[in-house]
Structure formats: C-alpha cells, structure tokens
Symmetry: D3
Subunit: 166 residues, 6 copies
Amino acid sequence: MGDNIGVYPGTFDPITRGHIDIIERGLKLFDLLIVAVAESPAKTPLFSVEERVSAINKETEKFSNVKVESFDGLLINYVRQKKSRTVLRGLRVMSDFEYEFQMALTNRKLSPDVETVFMMTKEDFAPVSSRFIKEIARLDGNVNPFVTPNVKRALKKKFASLEKAK
Amino acid sequence: MGDNIGVYPGTFDPITRGHIDIIERGLKLFDLLIVAVAESPAKTPLFSVEERVSAINKETEKFSNVKVESFDGLLINYVRQKKSRTVLRGLRVMSDFEYEFQMALTNRKLSPDVETVFMMTKEDFAPVSSRFIKEIARLDGNVNPFVTPNVKRALKKKFASLEKAK
Amino acid sequence: MGDNIGVYPGTFDPITRGHIDIIERGLKLFDLLIVAVAESPAKTPLFSVEERVSAINKETEKFSNVKVESFDGLLINYVRQKKSRTVLRGLRVMSDFEYEFQMALTNRKLSPDVETVFMMTKEDFAPVSSRFIKEIARLDGNVNPFVTPNVKRALKKKFASLEKAK
Amino acid sequence: MGDNIGVYPGTFDPITRGHIDIIERGLKLFDLLIVAVAESPAKTPLFSVEERVSAINKETEKFSNVKVESFDGLLINYVRQKKSRTVLRGLRVMSDFEYEFQMALTNRKLSPDVETVFMMTKEDFAPVSSRFIKEIARLDGNVNPFVTPNVKRALKKKFASLEKAK
Amino acid sequence: MGDNIGVYPGTFDPITRGHIDIIERGLKLFDLLIVAVAESPAKTPLFSVEERVSAINKETEKFSNVKVESFDGLLINYVRQKKSRTVLRGLRVMSDFEYEFQMALTNRKLSPDVETVFMMTKEDFAPVSSRFIKEIARLDGNVNPFVTPNVKRALKKKFASLEKAK
Amino acid sequence: MGDNIGVYPGTFDPITRGHIDIIERGLKLFDLLIVAVAESPAKTPLFSVEERVSAINKETEKFSNVKVESFDGLLINYVRQKKSRTVLRGLRVMSDFEYEFQMALTNRKLSPDVETVFMMTKEDFAPVSSRFIKEIARLDGNVNPFVTPNVKRALKKKFASLEKAK
C-alpha cells in the first residue's frame, strides 16, 4: 500500500503528557506520523510556533518515525500535500466530541479521500487541557502531572519573561 | 386566529444552506415568517447588518411570505412589537441544545405568552456553523457545499478587501 | 392554508403535568391538535391504551380544539392519514435530544413533507419522566407535584389491583 | 511492520448502510479488516449469527481484504488470537461516545497493547440505528434509505415468518 | 449541629473500587456514613441483597464510621427515618449526570429538607460500571483493576454456580 | 472533627438567586461556609471585586455562618490556607458538568486532601447564567426573576454609568 502516513494536527500550546500519549499510540497505526503544529494566530498562543515545534521535537526525538512540522492554511490541503490520507485526533472528553465530529465531516466534504481517525486519550491525562495547564503554571501551581520537565521549565521561563515585560 | 406570524432570529453572518433549509420548512408553519437579523455587535460580525439583510433578501425573494428585518435590543420585545407569539429556532447539534434551552426558558420568564419552537436542521448541512464556513473561506477552501453562489462571492469579496486593508 | 393540524404522539403512561403543559402551549400553533396515543405494547405499559386515552380526555375536555386518539403502526402513516403535516414533540432534557433528533430525521427520510417541531417542557415539570412517577406511586410516595388528582387516583387504583393480583 | 490487521466488532443485526460505510473507509487503514460478529445472545438478536455473517459476506464480497467471522467471549481475547492490535469502531452520535469511551478504556486496561480507533459514520446514515430500522421494517415502512435490497428482503422474510409463527 | 449523617445509596451489585473510593472520600464529610443497599428486584441483581451487604461490610470494616444496611421503598423515606439530611452520590461520567439530576430534583420535591451532594469518582475507576465488570467476569476476563480480590472471588464463585445450574 | 469549613468559589458577577440558593443549602453541610470571590481579571468582570464582595455580604448578612472574601491565585492554595478540605460547587446544566469534572480532577491532582462536592441548583433558577442576566439588564429587560432587588439596582446603576462614559 506504499507509505502509510498519518497527520496529527493541533496547536500544542504547549505539548502535554496527553498529546505524547496519543503520539506514542498513534505510531502503531502509521509508518510515519507527522505532528503538524497549526500556527493558530487567532488563538494568540502563549508560545511561538517555532517554540512549539522545538518542544515537540525534544519530546519525540526518541521515536524514529515521527516528524514535526508547522503549517498554516487549510488542514486538508496540508494533508494532501504530504501525500497522507489520514488525520489522527485525540478525544479527551465528551465536549470534544461534537467539535471533532463537525471538523471530521467538514473535512470529508472538502476532501472525501482523507479520513479522520480518533483515539481516546489515556485517562490519567484525560481531563486536563492546555488552557488549564497554562493557568496553573501562571499561578505557580504544580504542573508535573500534566507536562514533562522540559515543558515545565519552558512555561516557567515564559511566564517570568511576561511578568518582567509588564 | 388572525395572522400567524413567526420570527426566526439569528446573526446570519452569513446565511448558510442550513438556515435556508429552516426558512423553507418553517414557512409551512406560519402565514408570515420574519427573518430577524440581530445586529450582534458583541460578536463583531464579518458582514454589516445591512449586508446580512440584503444577502438573506436575495436568497428568499422566491418566497412570498418571508420578510427580512434587522433588530437590536431584547428579542422578546421585538417579537411582541411584531404581534408575533412564536420564535422559530433551528437545532443542529447537541451542544446547541442547552444554549437554546436556556434562551427559551429565559424568554418564557420574560414573556410567558411567546413560545419558542424548534426544528432540526437538515442533516446534510447539520454540522457546519457559520464560524467554520468563514474559516474555510478565509483559507480559500471550497465553500460550495455550505453556502449559495451569491454568498460565496460575498465571502470572497469581503476577505479580499480585508486582505487589502492590512 | 386550510386547516393546520398538529399531531402530538406519545405513550402517555400516564399523562403528566409536563404533557399537559405541552398540549396547552402547542394549541397556540395549530387549529386542531390531535393527541395520538401509541399502543406501544413493546413497552408493556401500566395502563391499557383505552385507559390512557380516557385519562387524557378528562384532562383536556376544557380545550375545544384537542382530539385524543390511539394509533398503531408507523407514526408517519398515521400523520398523513390525518391530513397533518406537523408532528409536535416536547423536549425535557438533553438526553431526549439525540433520540428525538434520530426520530425526526428518520421520519423526514420516510416522509419529507411532514415536519417535526419541538417545544421545551416547562421547567417545573422538566426532569420527571412517567417512569419515575410510576416508581414513586408504586412506593406510595407523593405524586401531586407531577400528575393531576385524577391521574393520581388512577395510579393508586392500578397499583392496588396489581398488589391484589399477586 | 508485518500485516496490519484491524478488527471491526459489532452485533450487525442486521448490517446497515452505515456499517458498510465504515467498512469501506476502514479498509484504507488496514491490510486486512476482519468484521467480527458478536453472538450477543443477551440482546436476543432478530437474525441468527449465521444469518448475520452471511448477510455481511454478501455485502462485502466485492472487497478483497475483508473477512467476516463470528466470535463469542471477550473481544480482547479474540483480537489477540487474530494477531491484531487494532479495534475499529464507528461513532454515530454523541450518546455513543461515552459507551465507546468506557469500552475503549476497559479494553486498554485488559490489554494495553490493543488500541481502539474510531471513525465517524457518514452523516447520511448517521442517526439511524439497527433498532430503529427493525422497527420500521416490522411496521412495513420503507427501509431503502437505511439498508441494501438484500437486507431489506431478509427483514421482510424474517418478519413474515415471525408473523406466521404467532 | 448534632450528628451529621450521610446516606450513600446504590445497588452495589457488586461493590467496585470506584464505590470504595467514594466511601473513603465521603467519610470526610460526615460523622457517620450509611451505605444503603437498595434491594432493586427490578434490576434482577446477580447477588442477593444479603450477599451485597456482606461484601461491602468486608471492604469497609477498616472504617469506624461506616454502617451498611439494606433498604426497600422510597429512598427519601429511608433517609428521613435515619435522621439524615444528606444523600451522597458519585458521578462517573456525563451520562450519569442527567439521571442523577432528575433523581436529585425529584427527591427535593418529595422532601425539600433532604439534600443530595455529589462527588466525582476517582478517574482510575471512572468509566467502568458494575454491569461491564460482571460481563468481563462472566467471560473469564481479568477484573483485578476494577474490584478487590474478595469481590473477584465472589464473582467467580457466583458464575461457576450459575454455570452448573444450567 | 473540629471545624468543618466549606469554600464556595466563583466570580459572582453579579450574585444570582441561583447562587443564593446554593449558599442556603450548602450551609447545612458546613459549620462555616466561605464564599470566595475570584478576582478573575481575565473575564473582565462588570463589577469590581469589592463591589461583588459587598453585594454578596448584603444578600447573606442574615446567615451567621457565612463569610465572604476575595482571593487571587490558585484556588487550592486558598482553600488550604483557610484550613478547609472541601470545595462546594453548584451544577446547573449538563454543559457545566465536564468543566467542573475537569476542575475537580485537576484540583485533586494538585491537592489530594481537598474534596469537591456538588449540589444541583434549584430548577427555578437553573438555566440562567450571570452572562445572560447581564445581557438582559443591558437591554433593559426585567431581571426580577433572576436577581434580588439590590442586585437589580446595582446592574441598572452600572449600565447607566457605562452608558454615560461612552
């Protein structure tokens, strides 16, 4: 069937243990898994797209068949350009479901040859979104259960520099 | 029973095939259906209220018993002023449900003589909101499945002028 | 537009204050509202279809434009036979939503000319289903908040006769 | 990576157009897709497990890499015995989500090396479950939008023989 | 304020690690926590009410302020008779929510002086209901992650005796 | 058990009849209930934190065991500092559920000795959030069913002063 390439898109602001869990398990489904970092300027991310790509690279360098890239524009165009036919998404909680359902059906209308497959996030990390983690870090809470030490350091540094800039 | 007037309120930024489906089917319930365009400045709509009213007029001129108007202020006051007793709303997905439920019960408390009735959006258009469609248009994707050619042209023109203005 | 006939189908085992609320408010939408009692043998109802029709008749005799009938077979065929184009349903809670959505879309596929419209049940009666009410009555609890005195008496009598038959 | 085998389990009582859609799209993910028919005696299915396997065989004989089998016992044991690491499931509506989530996490606890992946059912068939389709068939409604002509004939024959047996 | 007594009602067929988690954490809220085992004949439980009470007693004998009892009839009457004003319930997943909401509001209508409070089940046990656990045990799967060794033995013995009785 | 202190956190912008209902019923569970007003600058509240604290004080001065305070920073740190082990939250509707679930599990990870307990908001006030109430007040609608006369006056005054400042 030639190369079986999966694309795992997201904002990853920052990458969480939950994302890493999906990457590890998603690897079993594909010959190559591309982690595709959406620039998402509309969400005014805390980290620049370069910082986010670099953080994911650090966390995934142990896997030989993962590639990290950024993209802008329509996801479906990016997927086709990468010669992939499969988008991978994690489902954490019920409220994700309808949004993801809407995205998957919209993408199918835009490009019927591309499929979206879903995996459930490991329950330990399940209910904690990047937004919550940033809030905890900002308030100097303990983010160890949710992110790796590398990302924790990055969060600390970022909030310190934002504090200074005030 | 005198005239049976329905009010179908929304932001319509822009009108989608899903909205048109509700209008067509809602017509069967009422002698006159008023499509009521909320100004919604808080949502910072892409199109001005005049542009939205004019787009709906174009799409509904084939129906004799549809009237398009804009309104500001409390919906329930507008409905009463129009001598209507019925608000029509479309339900697309489960996450709409609670918001609509909250609105319907709030309106009933404010004005017990006005009823809200719901129709389910035709499944072909079901999961695609105006927000998604604007995002696809902005990224130059194909919006044909979701809006009419008129609205597609309006979206193209709007994004081109915004691009220029940068 | 000729006569505007609505059909309000259900098992009504027994009719609750929530059902009566929907009937009263549904009346405003239609020239004639037919309360259509499904025989529903698969649900092994507590009351016979005749008992259910008679209980609804008692509760609605004050309204001139309500008619109570029983039906068996496909709802959509019954609706067409009654020259109606509109099915009325009440939505109480979120978990109703998907079932009703599925029913409405299935019915639209079977008969595109028949519409389903929804009204929200008045919140006072909102969260209490016929199943709960029967359970409370069986355990001799107070069902006054949920059913009329007539229906309360009928529940008492029914459970007494079932007890005797043991 | 050797053979990439997916298992698509279900009761398939009977197979619907929605199931066939998942099979067709699931094929792209796997070298071999095993449709695994659960005997499910607790659900007292309308069709015997042999009838269900045979119906699926008829609908999928055009695909070279589909195999249809029945199984009893724990799904996860069957999957391991087939040397598969991936269970495929379709998600139709929000209410499926929690049940499937619970199943996926339970299976992961029982066998961490087996993954469950989900695909969204094509929206045209989305909201119609096998249970509804059987009800429509029993009441002599039109099931063409939901099942193939073969399955329609099988439903007719089954209900006729049940009717006779009364 | 006198004694602060909580009632934790359920069918407990059988008691799971999730239930034990709620009991342990619920203990902090009350001077005495009564685990109230509903007879629930309508659910045709696997274990008799005596077996269920005895299993919970074994799991909770280490706590001094837990009492295990069975009850029949209306929960709210039992709670009042125990001089308690508070019902404790665990919420595992979203689909529990509406059922529990309905129960809590119904109970408040029946007895406004009794409150229902909810705690979230620890996520490790979150998505696994007693029904799933029984199914896994019946099919000889590993139930260690979900129940204690005592309950595991009881499940084994029960299914062996049911098998023999066939 | 020493003092049993509960913390009821929120933004309270402004306090609604629904909040007051939770406070009244929550009082039965605790020796002291601290209403903890989050500064929440990220939500750009309509009322200053001092105005919100003062409004709650007015509504709760009739209760001897309620204390109103403001806090900033991580809730869990505030709760520990107050020597409390229990956070009280109200659940109004299903969409609250997942957010609250996520918060409760996150807090448990940050501080396993602190519990979150939930009570259901009285249905009369159930579906109306502070956001809706502010919108109705801004548009000069009747907010009597949702807030007390004091809060109504405060809303009027606030919107008048905002209007003037334009």
